[in-house]
């Protein structure tokens, strides 16, 4: 029964690694409330850029083809992480037209985790979301 013993050992190792990884992850907050299988593209007008910790927030109004406006709340990362990536609080202001790529809330509420934004200037910026590669970019147009 060498095989099963080895398999048992391998499984044990994997569980151990998983447990250790949980405690070693370099982030504070869980982003499990967001959908990891798809992303939204939101072209909208900024109503507020909330520059706070633990996380910043971008509030935008998105107008559909019929002119109806839907409001979205987009969670960013810590403003400390954002500053280390070169972000400044004045890079976005109310009234700016931006394009946001976000992982939507699983609850179906109009909100998401901001992964990347194209500023009014045309400059693209990422947010430094930990393990951002675990969010599959499908970029569905809203």
């Amino acid at each position: 029964m060498v095989f099963s013993r080895r398999t048992g050992y391998a499984v044990g190792c994997l569980i151990l690694m998983a447990l250790v990884m949980v405690s070693a992850a370099l982030a504070h907050h869980s982003f499990a409330v967001y959908d990891h299988t798809k992303t939204l593209i939101l072209n909208g007008k900024v109503t507020k850029f909330q520059w706070t910790n633990p996380h910043a927030f971008l509030e935008i109004d998105v107008q559909d083809a019929k002119g109806a406006v839907k409001h979205y709340t987009l969670e960013c990362t810590s403003i400390n992480m954002m500053q280390r990536l070169g972000w400044r609080s004045n890079m976005i202001k109310a009234g700016d037209q931006v394009k946001a790529i976000a992982a939507p809330l699983l609850s179906g509420q109009p909100g998401g985790l901001l992964l990347e934004v194209t500023l009014a200037s045309g400059e693209k910026r990422e947010l430094g979301v930990p393990a951002s590669n675990t969010f599959k970019r499908t970029a569905e147009q809203e």
Partner: protein
Amino acid sequence: MKSKRVLGPTAWIVCAAAVLAPIAARAQQASTPIPDITGSWERARDASIPAQPQPPLKPQHLKEWQAKVQAARESSAKGEPLADRATACLPEGMPTMMGATFPLEILQSKGQVTIIEEAFTQIRRILLDRPQKPVDDVEPGFYGHSVGHWEGGVLVVDTVGVRENVFIGGGMGSPGVPHSKDMRIKERISLGANGILRDDITIEDPVTFEKPWTYTFGYRRMPGYTLLEYVCEDNREYADEKGLQKIRIETPGR
């Protein structure tokens, strides 16, 4: 009169070495300068830093902790992470803050080494060359009472008085490792020739652990980096009535 000779030449050499070696070691230790570790540091993944082993919890504690970890994983997999200390905007405390999720600043001053973790503006003070207090004389807190001394180039630190609900590790919707009020954290902080600062941590807690839990964090310098302020000002994450982490979204018109 050969039989009266108590020690032969070899024995004398061995004896002299036994006496002189500790003196020489102490002299070398005393002559090793205290390293300059003042400045900003970030966590470094370096080959010289071993992976963190599993906590050697006693069977009952291990069982309970693994069940909590499993429940947290299952809840997260359903998109319903359990609320944790981050949801409540609480700092990590000791020893977790030494994991430096955000950068650390170390300040060496007369009689004290101060360590600041940027996230939650966490501060710990290591009082040098002072006796440690008995655990029961320390009011339980997030950081405990730390005393330290330099042994050559190594800062040896002893910490007691960390509150039982300040768990070790955890976060990201996962529970930390439990400990008792009698936990003692021993650290050996040293600067390697490779420029990597290491904190060799040993957690002793005979109530909770079968044997001491030892692991190491490594750090590299962040030249020119000044720690930023961090105030947990408006946490839109909150715990609902089921203890799940939820997010408050903006309702236009309110």
